[in-house]
């Protein structure tokens, strides 16, 4: 378990780097579009749409990484005033609730992907894409979140290695 935790942490770390790279790509892509248009070199008609998908991918794939870092904003006013034991219990309850939420997201995300495949839904804008390609980011993100929540839940019962949060 500890070994897997470590390995999963590295995977999430790579995803974090990927999200940073997405923001660098957004900078270059949109700048190229504006400069090109204003200099009369033509524009990248697909830039807007690709930017939107990249932003969405960054938000959803980055969420499990941020959970590992403890970076999601939360109100810890009650937690920090509790005695250690009660605090551990409350943290466990929160992680359980988080796990349940991601379970629902995973299930209905998967259902949306399945519907998209069955109905053959297409998104037709500048680019023509199958809807399920786009939707599938949600269950992937939810699955990573589920794994991270399970690891968080298991950490108090394990000693030492792999815990970063």
């Amino acid at each position: 378990m500890a070994h897997f935790d470590l390995w999963f942490g590295r995977l999430l770390g790579l995803i974090g780097i990927g999200v940073g790279v997405i923001f660098a790509v957004l900078t270059l892509l949109i700048s190229a579009d504006v400069v090109g248009r204003n200099l009369g070199l033509g524009n990248l008609a697909w830039a807007t749409e690709v930017s939107e998908y990249l932003l969405y991918a960054a938000a959803f794939l980055g969420a499990p990484w941020l959970l590992r870092l403890g970076g999601h904003i939360r109100m810890d006013l009650v937690c920090t005033t509790l005695p250690p034991r009660a605090r551990t219990v409350l943290e466990l309850l929160c992680d359980l609730l988080g796990l349940a939420v991601c379970g629902v997201m995973f299930w209905y995300g998967l259902a949306a992907v399945r519907d998209g495949i069955q109905a053959g839904t297409m998104i037709i804008k500048m680019l023509v894409l199958k809807e399920w390609w786009i939707m599938s980011v949600v269950p992937v993100s939810a699955a990573l979140l589920i794994i991270e929540f399970v690891l968080r839940l298991s950490r108090p019962f394990r000693s030492g290695a792999g815990s970063e949060a």
């Binding site: 999200v19 949109i30 938000a59 941020l66 970076g71 349940a100 629902v104």
Partner: protein, 438 residues
């Protein structure tokens, strides 16, 4: 279910999960799941929730959020911002509380280069604060200005939160960004006047520090010309291109962050470490904000669908209060929320009610948007949970504690309330500059 019961259920669950310490984004998702099951027809509603959260963030108007943050992070991690601050320090001479004034001037300039209040506060806190304390500045006059001016980054474009507010409230993002300039400058002026006044009356809180090398003529101005003036190009890329109508806010943001990368390369400060740290810090803040957006959009839909929004709006409407009183009431709600809740959640919690209320009462949404930004800025430094209070605690020397930070914030909170009051009573102060670009 009556609208009151729906409202109580949704807000009650939100408060319960939130206070228990579940991250805000997951809190919204959890309440949405309950709400979708009850009000949006079960399975279909849950499916809708998933699709909504995708549509919420796959939005070109939100792209400036990471890009504005990236600008500030690049200038911060490459050290360019530090050089700019020391260049400004060389210029400011013979004023009471000199280094505090430097932090206000430097912080205001950096506000025009960064969309992150955290980067702004961390920059000033790590560059000027140790120097002030070493020279015997009283903690209140050393810490206070840095936190206060840190918050100005939220008002003066580029501002990530203004983009968020504008896009969700349906207010023109470029006008909201431009509308923050005058209030931001008013605040900086008020802070400066207060510091000079207080240090002139009581010089012991800020001992004179002009014993170091004295520069004159070109030696004094050279760093300003080489390290600060060129950054004006970045400010122009962002603010100028929007005012002149050359670029949309998203495009201006891309140009601005490209500009800051080019500046960093030109100063030979853009190494691999600085670049990757900038990108990672940008990713953390941006994902945090974007994921809350993904989660909370459905929440406002459920509020509307359950009849809670309409019920509350009609009830407040029936009170027959004037637009001014109503706006003041909204500001009051935000000020109270700001003591305990972060800025993104403040927007998400109040917008579903505020915008319909403003519409029914005939309140100018742009004016309300700027008032909301200022109220949220106040929330950054109001005890006990203002975000910048903790950023400051993180960068300041260990012999100072949170009590020092709280006390130092008080005069600046009062000054910001004063500016807020003035803007509430005279909307034209806020509206004239955006009016120029209409």
């Amino acid at each position: 279910m009556s609208w009151g019961a729906s409202l109580g259920l949704l807000l009650g669950l939100l408060a319960l999960f939130g206070v228990a310490g579940l991250p805000i984004a997951f809190t919204f998702f959890a309440v949405n799941i309950v709400g979708a099951a009850i009000f949006l027809g079960g399975e279909a509603g849950l499916m809708q929730m998933v699709r909504n959260s995708v549509d919420a963030v796959a939005n070109f108007a939100l792209v400036p959020i990471p890009l504005f943050i990236l600008m500030g992070e690049v200038l911060f991690h490459t050290g360019i911002a530090f050089k700019a601050i020391s260049a400004i320090e060389r210029l400011i001479k013979r004023v009471p509380g000199r280094l505090s004034i430097v932090s206000v001037v430097g912080g205001t300039i950096f506000s025009a280069l960064s969309g992150s209040t955290i980067a702004n506060t961390a920059l000033l806190g790590s560059s000027l604060l140790p120097e002030m304390l070493r020279r015997g500045y009283h903690p209140s006059i050393a810490i206070g200005p840095i936190m206060a001016v840190g918050g100005i980054a939220m008002l003066i474009p580029p501002s990530a939160l203004a983009v968020l507010l504008g896009s969700l409230a349906g207010i023109s993002i470029s006008q909201l960004l431009i509308g923050g300039i005058v209030p931001g400058v008013m605040m900086a002026t008020a802070f400066g006047a207060y510091i000079i006044g207080r240090c002139a009356i009581n010089p012991t809180i800020a001992p004179s520090d002009e014993d170091g090398p004295s520069y004159s003529g070109w030696e004094r101005w050279r760093p300003f010309v080489t390290d600060v003036l060129p950054l004006g190009g970045i400010v122009f890329l962002v603010i100028g291109s929007m005012i002149l109508g050359w670029a949309t806010p998203t495009e201006a943001a891309a140009l601005g962050s490209l500009g800051s990368l080019i500046a960093a390369a030109a100063y030979r400060s853009l190494d691999r470490v600085a670049l990757s740290r900038s990108l990672i810090e940008t990713a953390k803040l941006s994902v945090m904000i974007l994921f809350v957006i993904a989660a909370s959009v459905t929440f406002s839909q459920i509020l509307a669908f359950s009849g809670a929004t309409n019920g509350l709006v009609q009830m407040v409407g029936a009170l027959g209060s004037s637009p001014l009183l109503l706006a003041a009431g909204m500001v009051l709600v935000l000020l109270i929320l700001g003591c305990v809740v972060d800025q993104v959640s403040m927007i998400m919690l109040t917008l579903p009610f505020f915008m319909p209320l403003a519409q029914s009462a005939g309140i100018d949404p742009l004016w309300l948007g700027v008032l909301m930004l200022i109220s949220m800025e106040l929330g950054l430094i109001t005890p006990p949970f203002g975000l910048l209070l903790f950023v400051m605690q993180g960068v300041m020397p260990k012999h100072l504690n949170l009590q020092h930070v709280y006390r130092a914030a008080v005069p600046f909170i009062l000054l910001e309330l004063l500016v807020l009051g003035i803007l509430l009573l005279s909307p034209e102060l806020t509206l004239w500059l955006p009016g120029v670009m209409r």
